[in-house]
């Protein structure tokens, strides 16, 4: 699965808007993830996961920054996320099903914050983009 030119344009132009709210988007995405899918908290026994926690904010920033790296290197996401891919495969070993859950929560966060931009076409482009990112992050799993 690879992104068309149109899809890349949509992602890159929306990213320019999104990155100004990157940190709060990251935090909100994780809040949505942990509330809707409590089983995902099993990967964070060492975290304080209360809304507003410093750890949640820091981690949310990290996650969205990585999505941003992918967007900024949209022609070669594999290369941009090599280190992260290795981290997920050898250290974190998050079950692949969770990438879909996180992607969905990020999409919902974007949809709520940028309703006018989140057309059906943009929705499709983002879903596909996050799917590509997820594939890259799990491609070294076995």
């Amino acid at each position: 699965m690879s992104l068309t030119k149109t899809e890349r344009t949509i992602i890159v132009s929306m990213w320019a808007k999104i990155c100004t709210q990157a940190d709060t988007i990251g935090t909100e995405t994780l809040e949505r993830l942990f509330l809707s899918y409590p089983q995902t908290k099993t990967y964070f026994p060492h975290f304080d996961l209360h809304p507003g926690s410093a750890q949640l904010r820091a981690h949310g920033s990290k996650v969205v920054a990585a999505v941003g790296d992918a967007a900024k290197n949209i022609d070669n996401i594999g290369a941009a996320l090599t280190k992260l891919s290795e981290l997920h495969a050898y250290v974190l070993r998050v079950d692949p099903v969770n990438f879909k859950l996180l992607s969905h929560c990020l999409l919902v966060t974007l949809a709520a914050r940028f309703p006018a931009d989140f057309t059906a076409e943009a929705h499709a482009a983002w879903d596909k983009f996050l799917s590509v990112v997820s594939s890259v992050l799990t491609e070294k799993y076995r």
Partner: protein, 147 residues
Amino acid sequence: MGHFTEEDKATITSLWGKVNVEDAGGETLGRLLVVYPWTQRFFDSFGNLSSASAVMGNPKVKAHGKKVLTSLGDAIKNLDDLKGTFAQLSELHCDKLHVDPENFRLLGNVLVTVLAIHFGKEFTPEVQASWQKMVAGVASALSSRYH
């Protein structure tokens, strides 16, 4: 299947009261067909689905979307017995329509996204969590009679 707290029920019901079922139905089904184009396999008779704008403007998509969400609205009045409410529809989706239940999960998540677009800030993480339970419950009930 998940258990709905009184808070879940109140959240779901009050939000649903503000939804225009016709608009949301067309939006939800349309987006399913655009974002996950393989789902078009069930709708050969719907005519032009060749582009995002064709899909979103297609009158058959809008009509069918309204039908689907109207049924969901009925379920909201019976959150404690989704299985019973959807028993016949479950058999229909298995025996006549031959729909892979994965599609119910996809549609449910598209609906959640449409609600987020429509309600914005009001669609808080807590509200979303109640709705994820709702759509998961519906998907489960709709697949419960599969054999």
